[in-house]
C-alpha cells in the first residue's frame, strides 16, 4: 500500500489535517512545520491520492472530451482536425492543471454511455463536445444535467444556452469565394459533403452571398454535393462537360480537395492553370499535396483552446455568461489557384501572387 497522509502525519509528529494544510499551503501553518512536513513527504515519497481528494472536494480537475462519432472515412478526415483541436485543449488543460479523459466509444450509443459514466460517475468536472450534429443526445443530456460544457462547432438548437466555439463558416466561404472573384474568376463552383450539416449550409450561403455582392448570378448547377467517398470523379465530370465550365472551385474538405485533384489529374486538367481550387481546413493533407492546396485555415488548435477555456470558466463560475467564440478563418494562399486576366481568357502563363 502506498504512503498516505497519515503516514506522513505520524512520521512528522503532526495531525493529518496539518499535513493536508501543508499540501494546500495554507497560511494557518507555520513555516517551520511546513518545512518539516515537506521534508518528511519527500523522504517517504508521498503523493496525494486524487481519488480521495476528488471524493471530498467533489471535483477531479479533469475534463471529458467527447470525440466525434466515427462513421467511415469522415472519421479519418476528422482525425487530423480532431487531433489538432485536441492539442489546443491539451495546451489549455496543461496550463490550468486539468487532466483529460476521452471517450472510447465508436458508436453513437457507446459514446453516449461514456458521457454518462464520466458525468454521473463524477469522473470529470466538465465536458467538451467535438462537435455538434443533429439528433444528438449528448448535448441535451448535458443541458438537462446542468453540467459545465462547451461545444466545438455550432449547436443545432438552444444556441444561447450553450457555450460554443466555431468559425464563422458563412463568412469564411464568402471570403474564399471573394478571394477567387478578386482574381477575376466568375464561374465558380462549390463542392460540399452532406448538405444536411449546418456547416455546409452556412458555407453554401456564404458562397452565394459573395457571388451576389459581386453581381454574379447564383446558379444551382454550380453547386454539387458529394455524398459517398470517391464520388468526386463523377462530380468533376459533371463540371467539365458543362458549356460554361467553372474556372475555380470552393471545396469543403481536404479529402474532397485531394479527390478532386486526382479526378482532374486523371482527366489531364491542370491545376491551377486550367482550374483553381480553394479548400476548407488547412491540414497536413492540403499542405502535402501537389500542388499545395490553397486553403482556409480554420485554426483547429485555437478552437480547442478556447473550448477548454470556456468549460473551465464555467466550472469555476457556473453563472458565467454562455458566450460563443467565433474564431476567424484565414485564407492560406498556396499553389492551387491562379489569377485570371480581366477578360477571363485562359492564359496559360501562370500569374500567382
Amino acid at each position: 500500500m502506498a504512503i498516505t497522509i497519515k503516514d506522513v502525519a505520524k512520521a512528522a509528529n503532526v495531525a493529518p489535517s496539518t499535513v493536508s494544510r501543508v499540501i494546500s499551503d495554507s497560511r494557518h501553518i507555520s513555516e517551520k512545520t511546513k518545512k518539516k512536513v515537506r521534508q518528511v513527504m519527500n523522504e517517504l515519497g508521498y503523493h496525494t491520492n486524487l481519488n480521495a481528494r476528488g471524493l471530498v472536494q467533489q471535483s477531479t480537475k479533469t475534463l471529458g472530451v467527447v470525440l466525434k462519432y466515427s462513421e467511415s472515412d469522415a472519421w479519418k478526415l476528422g482525425n487530423l482536425f480532431v487531433s489538432e483541436v485536441l492539442q489546443g485543449i491539451s495546451a489549455h488543460c496543461q496550463q490550468h492543471g486539468y487532466s483529460i479523459m476521452i471517450t472510447t466509444g465508436s458508436t453513437e450509443e457507446e459514446i453516449y454511455k461514456d458521457v454518462g459514466r464520466m458525468v454521473q460517475g463524477k469522473q470529470v468536472d466538465g465536458i467538451i463536445v467535438l462537435y455538434a450534429k443533429k439528433n444528438d443526445k449528448v448535448v441535451p443530456f448535458l443541458l438537462e444535467k446542468a453540467i459545465p460544457f462547451s461545444v466545438v462547432g455550432k449547436p443545432m438548437e438552444r444556441m444561447n444556452e450553450i457555450m460554443f466555439v466555431d468559425n464563422d463558416n458563412m463568412q469564411a466561404a464568402k471570403d474564399a469565394t471573394e478571394f477567387l472573384i478578386h482574381r477575376n474568376h466568375s464561374r465558380i463552383g462549390f463542392i460540399g459533403d452532406n448538405p444536411t450539416f449546418q456547416v455546409i449550409q452556412d458555407r453554401v450561403e456564404g458562397y452565394y452571398k459573395a457571388l451576389e455582392e459581386h453581381g454574379i448570378r447564383r446558379d444551382a448547377s454550380y453547386v454539387k454535393f458529394v455524398h459517398t467517398p470517391e464520388e468526386e470523379g463523377a462530380v468533376v465530370e459533371e463540371f467539365l462537360i458543362m458549356e460554361a465550365k467553372p474556372t475555380a472551385l470552393v471545396i469543403s474538405t481536404p479529402l474532397q480537395g485531394v479527390g478532386v485533384l486526382k479526378a482532374l489529374h486523371k482527366r489531364g486538367v491542370h491545376v491551377p492553370d486550367e482550374i483553381s481550387l480553394v479548400v476548407f481546413n488547412k491540414t497536413l493533407i492540403t499542405e502535402m499535396s501537389i500542388p499545395v492546396l490553397t486553403s482556409i485555415d480554420t485554426e483547429a488548435f485555437q478552437l480547442g483552446y478556447e473550448a477548454s477555456r470556456g468549460v473551465v470558466e464555467l466550472i469555476n463560475n457556473p453563472d458565467t455568461f454562455k458566450r460563443s467564440v467565433i474564431i476567424p478563418a484565414k485564407i492560406e494562399p498556396r499553389e492551387s489557384h491562379r489569377k485570371l486576366t480581366k477578360d477571363n481568357s485562359s492564359v496559360i502563363n501562370v500569374t500567382m501572387e
Copy 2:
C-alpha cells in the same frame, strides 16, 4: 447533491450494502430484492460515484496513455500514426470497460509530471507509452514503481522486463527491399530520418540484409539520412547526379515520401516510370498522394489494440509473462512502383501488377 447509495437504500428500505450488492449483481441477494432496488435506482436516477468506488477498490478502470513528446513536425507526422494507435487502444478499452486518460504535456518534463500524477495519484490502473525513445525517464519510473504498463515501439533497454508491441522493422525493411528486388530493381536507395533512432537502424539493417541475400553489394552512398524537414530536395539531388542512380527508393516516413515525391516532381522525374518509391507507414498521406504511394502498413490500430490488451492483462495478473508482441507489417502495393524488365533497361512502358 446527487443521489447516493444511501438514498436508494432508504427509499428501497434496505441497507446500503444491499444496494451495493445489487449493483454488482451479487448472488447473495434475492431476485425479489434486486428487482425492487433496481426499480428504485431507476426512479431516483442513481449512478455510482466512481471516485468513491475507486477509493475503496484501489482501482479506477482507467488507462493512462502517454503521448509522444511533440517536437516540431515529427509530431504532425506522428499525429496520423498516433491517432490510429489511439483508436486501437480505444477499441480495446471500450470492450473491457476501461476509460482513457491522456497526457496533456507538450514538453518532456510536463509529460513526466503527468505520468507521475496519473500513477501516484491513483488515477489510472496502468499506462501505455507511445513510444520508446532513449534517455526516456518515463519507462524507468514505471519500472521502479512496478506499475503495469506496455510500450508501443521497442524499448531501448531492459527489454525482457517490459511488455511491448512493435513491428519487426528489420523484417519489414527487408520485405520492402525484396519487393523491389523481385521487380528487378538492383540499384535501390534508402532514405531515413534520424539514424540514432533504433527503428531506423533496424530498417537500414533489413534493407542491407535483403540486398546481400540477393547478391547485391551494399553501398553506403545509397543510404541517406534527412535530418531537417524539407531537406528531401537535397537528398534527391544527390541521388539524381549519381552515375548509377537508383531506380528505386525505400523511404522511412510518409512525410519524407511526399517530400521526395515533390522533389522528384519539381525536377521532372516521373514516378514510377523513372523511379519507384516504397514508403513506411500506410497513412492517409500515402493514400492521398498522386500517385498513391506503395507503402508498408505497420498496422497502427493493431499496435494500439495489443498494447492495451497487454496492460489490462498485466493489471489483472501482475505476474503475467511480459511478452512482446510483434505485429507483422504488410506491403500495400499501390502506384508508386513499377517492375523493371530483366535487363534493367528503362522501359517506359509501365508494367504494374
